[in-house]
């Protein structure tokens, strides 16, 4: 199978879907001529022209709102937010509008919209180019949210998102763009939204995570295997809806759970995962449910020692996993 990096997988998903369905179009800041500040939309402008690859004015609420209008007409917009940090001006359009269109119209209207936004840190981006905004949107029924960790999942989930009849937030980790490569089939495929994936089988401890930290956990698990600790790693892939069955199965597998994410701890996805487990299988646990997440500070600072201190990494993850194994 051909190997591709995470960024190219995203690019290919858009390219193929735009070819497949001429209702699909892309809009956002610098997505056209420049091909996006990270290059995610590279090649789309020459291939599909400026009517389907639209360089918008610098106004995220309009990007979301205009996309919503077009989606209600029956088009399939893919709106790029340059950084997830900059999608906050569009929160009202996303939460008050996109999420509620089907429900409020009693199924008369719907909003098949994809919003792509790069999340996460580790690129020396400082406070406003490193954030994880998941918790802002996670409590909003009506939205779907995905956050893939591999090129395969990224491509399959983006295709599923584009074909979905409801609004999907597609959070892509910018640190994965060029750092993560993997096999991506040539044939058309989708990864269904709402289905988690076991990225590693193990017997001693379970790590439930998503995004960049999947890779930290995998790296840590390799190291820990040498110490005789066997880790089972579940990649949530979809945050909304959560794959409750897979979460419970993974937790049951070892009875010891570490929930791990880069978004800050309080109010993060990890709280919900822990709460689901504590509600549904408390008596099957062999240890308290551990969480490892970023510190509860407003955002990641840029100065190298501060960024390093703030960012999770395989070492920190390994320490937490070992601690849980030894519990």
């Amino acid at each position: 199978m051909p190997v591709s990096n995470y960024l190219d997988a995203i690019n290919a998903a858009m390219f193929e879907e735009m070819k497949r369905d001429d209702n699909v179009f892309v809009l956002g800041e610098d997505v056209g001529v420049k091909g996006g500040v990270f290059g995610a939309t590279k090649g789309l402008y020459p291939a599909f022209g400026e009517e389907r690859v639209i360089d918008t004015p610098l106004s995220e609420s309009a990007i979301a709102g205009v996309a919503i209008g077009a989606a209600m007409y029956g088009m399939k917009p893919i709106a790029e937010m340059q950084y997830s940090d900059f999608m906050l001006p569009a929160v009202n359009q996303i939460i008050s509008e996109a999420a509620k269109i089907r429900y409020r119209s009693n199924n008369d209207w719907n909003c098949p919209l994809v919003i792509r936004a790069p999340i996460g840190g580790g690129i020396h981006g400082g406070l406003y180019h490193s954030q994880c905004p998941e918790s802002i949107f996670f409590g909003t029924p009506g939205l779907k949210i995905v956050a893939p960790s591999t090129p395969y999942d990224a491509k399959g989930l983006l295709k599923a998102a584009i074909r979905d009849e409801d609004p999907v937030l597609f959070f892509e980790h910018k640190k994965c763009y060029r750092m993560i490569s993997g096999e991506v089939p040539e044939e058309d495929y989708i990864v269904p939204i709402g289905v988690a994936d076991v990225k590693r089988e193990g017997t001693d401890i379970t790590v439930i995570t998503y995004g960049l930290t999947v890779h930290f956990a995998l790296k840590a698990a390799d190291d820990l295997a040498k110490e005789g600790i066997s880790a089972h790693i579940l990649d949530l892939r979809s945050l909304q809806p959560l794959d409750t069955d897979a979460i419970l199965a993974a937790a049951r597998k070892t009875g010891k759970v570490l929930v791990l994410h880069e978004d800050n701890k309080t109010g993060g996805i990890g709280a919900e995962v822990a709460a689901i487990i504590a509600e549904q299988m408390l008596y099957e646990l062999d240890a308290p449910i551990m969480r490892l997440a970023s510190e509860d500070v407003p955002a990641m600072p840029i100065s190298p020692p501060l960024e390093k201190q703030f960012m999770l990494n395989p070492e920190k993850v390994k320490d937490a996993m070992r601690k849980l194994a030894l519990y």
């Binding site: 609420s61 709102g65 209600m72 007409y73 029956g74 001006p89 409020r104």
Partner: protein, 347 residues
């Protein structure tokens, strides 16, 4: 009849391409909206419904605008006072009443949303919400779809003058201006946003002047003058279809009712001010015109009013008796692909 026709020959409405019949239709449509609104206020006072937000004083502008657009072709994004507008583009009195009573058959939302929150796909009325001005970028998105798909329609969106101070107004207008999209923005400037008068909303500025900053024309017009509204919207539509881009229209009207049935307007404005504006009411003005041009007489009027009365009575009765949604319907249609009972219902 012959003399009558002669008189009307060069009458204003004819010059604008409005036949006598259509003008009369327009008039009775406004009256229908007014009577609906009065009925809704009565029903609220009688405790039969909880809440109504009135459009009284704005019907002339609404209906005249609707008549300048193309039903079932253009896309409409009306705001919560636009009863006259939605009636004119195809919503029925029964449907409005079902919404007022929050009954299952309400096409807008199946009884989920407040009355005045329109949405009806079969009539190209796009679903709207309560947070003001979010519909402005939506209208731009529909116009963008028209452009991308090379379809010959316009989108038409209304909002209050207070609402024109939201960021979404600015972002939507600018986007439309850059891409020269076929969208008409109509502000129904009724001079109040709940209790806040225009002087505190926009100072000495005029909404229409904002268009300049987006590179398209803006017109402040008398919203009580149906001919001016009709002509302006019609020209804006033609302009849009020619690919020349958006138009902003500021229709000057006055909110004759309190903000809603929860509001006491005399806490912030005087009776005299309100009374003054009753004299300028656009429905009356059109009535005078019709009388002057012998297009209306006592008999026609009585007949028209009687029909309206009947329609409203029947619809009220129908909606009152219509079933509510089933309780469990509260949990459906969150997503399109949901299974029955897929929410955390019945935990």
């Amino acid at each position: 009849m012959a003399a009558n026709e002669l008189v009307s020959q060069d009458a204003l409405h004819r010059q604008l391409g409005l036949s006598d019949e259509r003008l009369l239709d327009m008039y009775f449509m406004m009256v229908l909206a007014r009577k609906y609104d009065e009925r809704a206020l009565l029903l609220q006072r009688a405790g039969k419904i909880n809440f109504h937000v009135s459009g009284i004083g704005q019907e002339a502008a609404q209906v005249a605008a609707a008549f300048a657009l193309q039903k079932n072709k253009d896309y409409f994004l009306p705001y919560y006072r636009d009863y006259g507008f939605v009636l004119a583009v195809g919503m029925t009195m029964r449907e409005l009443m079902l919404s007022l009573f929050a009954k299952a058959g309400d096409p807008n939302s199946g009884g989920r949303q407040m009355p005045g929150h329109f949405g009806d796909k079969k009539n190209n009325i796009v679903t709207g919400s309560s947070p003001v001005t979010t519909q402005v970028p939506h209208a731009v998105g529909l116009a963008l779809a028209a452009k991308i798909k090379k379809q010959s329609f316009v989108s038409f969106v209304t909002f209050g003058e207070g609402s024109s101070n939201q960021g979404d107004f600015h972002e939507g207008c600018n986007f439309a201006g850059v891409h020269k999209l076929p969208v008409i923005f109509m502000c129904e400037n009724n001079q109040y946003a709940i209790s806040v008068p225009i002087a505190k909303q926009i100072g000495e500025a005029r909404i229409a002047d904002r268009a300049l900053g987006y590179g398209f024309p803006g017109h402040r017009i008398d919203g009580n003058d149906v001919f001016e509204v009709y002509r302006t919207v019609k020209e804006a539509r033609e302009r849009a279809l020619r690919g020349e881009g958006p138009t902003l229209i500021e229709a000057m009207v006055y909110r004759l009712s309190p903000h809603s049935t929860s509001d006491d307007d005399l806490a912030y404005r005087t009776k005299e001010e309100v009374q003054h504006h009753w004299k300028l009411d656009g429905i009356n003005r059109l009535r005078e015109y019709l009388l002057q041009h012998s297009l209306l007489n006592d008999e026609l009027e009585a007949e028209g009013l009687k029909k309206i009365q009947l329609v409203i009575d029947e619809a009220t009765d129908f909606a009152e008796k219509a079933p509510y949604p089933r309780p469990e319907d509260a949990f459906t249609h969150v997503y399109g692909d949901e299974q029955e009972g897929s929410t955390n219902a019945g935990q």
